[in-house]
């Protein structure tokens, strides 16, 4: 699988700083990005593609970043024609499964950035999994 190709992994590491810990953990993340927000806005959203490389389920239980006052795991849900956000206390990654965080679905809600973030800025978000593993992932801010 191309995903596990060492050259490709190195490339990802260079681009988005997925540390070696991610491979040990069996969870890999790519295409991690944050939508640039209009000036003065305190709410942002982070998106990514997660993959569980193990044959056991993995559980994302928290996320944190020194770049924001708080980070929460959310999913946009539509009920009765209205969209709202559901707060999630954990997100399950099925064995050998992938999960896409994308606009209109799963996202990391990033509250009150400590400094103004502009397209191109990198922000590290620590993804915490059940079992104590913490995976630092560099998200790129983009428009």
């Amino acid at each position: 699988m191309r995903w596990r190709d060492p050259v490709f992994v190195c490339l990802i590491s260079a681009l988005s700083v997925v540390p070696a810990a991610s491979e040990e953990a069996g969870v890999s993340v790519r295409d991690a990005w944050i939508r640039e927000a209009p000036p003065g806005m305190t709410m942002m959203a982070g998106y990514m593609k997660m993959r569980n490389n193990t044959s056991r389920p993995q559980f994302l239980v928290a996320a944190s970043s020194s770049g924001f006052e708080s980070v929460m795991m959310h999913r946009t849900v539509v009920r009765g024609g209205m969209a709202g956000m559901a707060h999630l206390s954990q997100i399950e990654l099925a064995p050998n499964g992938s999960l896409i965080f994308a606009p209109g679905g799963y996202h990391l809600m990033l509250m009150t950035p400590k400094r103004t973030l502009r397209a191109g800025d990198p922000v590290v978000i620590n993804l915490e999994f059940r079992g104590g593993l913490v995976l630092p992932v560099t998200f790129a801010v983009r428009k």
Binding site: R35, A45, R79, M82, G84, M85
Partner: protein
């Protein structure tokens, strides 16, 4: 011919006949109702068979000017209900609408006769200046509008837009639920069509150009 393939042939024939009949029926509708029927029904846009005239409402724009029924006249308006503390759906939709506007502006008819209005259902947190800062990030021409709850409800009700602001004492980030549809109001201030999510800039601008052309044809 065995039973299975006979059944299959009957099924295929039935489907083909149904398709033909549907074609004849659509052609008839098309003849009767002008080319509006061409656009009905659609996953991107629902065009109302009879555009519904809106009645008086009173809101305020992001420069603290009155935004009322007269503000919708003489232009096509794309209306989207949301709030600035919305991290996912609102910025995503406004970015799509900004691209749709660019597409429409590149057409020879241009974008002089259209406006994009972001209506905040959260006046408690969204001041005029905050709305200005928010909408112009997506496109300089976008207009932010809000007002008192009764008047937001008035316009939303007329368009069939649903929302719910769950203000909770002591909770700064209270939840807001809102429709993700985009409403198209014609230059006669009539509710003309609604774009349904997931939104796509190309699909919206293409549909709009057809609707605008049809209306221009009807007016002359």
């Amino acid at each position: 011919m065995n039973t299975v393939s006979l059944k299959f042939s009957i099924m295929v024939t039935t489907v083909a006949l149904a398709a033909m009949l549907a074609g004849v029926w659509l052609a008839e509708i098309y003849r009767q109702h002008d080319s509006r029927a061409m656009l009905l029904p659609d996953r991107v846009m629902t065009l109302f068979p009879e555009p519904k005239p809106l009645t008086a409402f009173a809101l305020t724009d992001d420069k603290n000017r009155v935004f009322d029924l007269a503000s919708l006249k003489g232009k096509w308006s794309f209306l989207f209900f949301g709030f600035t503390h919305c991290p996912d759906v609102c910025p995503t939709t406004l970015a799509v609408l900004a691209r749709a506007r660019d597409n429409i502006a590149s057409n020879k008819v241009g974008a002089e006769d259209i406006q994009f209005v972001f209506i905040s259902v959260d006046p408690n947190r969204d001041s005029a200046s905050k709305l200005r800062q928010y909408v112009e990030y997506f496109d300089k021409s976008f207009v932010g509008v809000t007002g008192d709850n009764a008047q937001i409800g008035n316009l939303a009700g007329q368009l069939g837009a649903t929302y719910q602001v769950a203000i909770t004492p002591g909770l700064e980030n209270y939840p807001v639920y809102h429709t993700t549809a985009v409403f198209l109001v014609d230059p006669r201030a009539r509710s003309h069509a609604v774009f349904t999510p997931p939104h796509d800039a190309e699909a919206i601008s293409k549909r709009f150009k057809v609707v605008r052309e049809l209306e221009a044809g009807n007016a002359t």
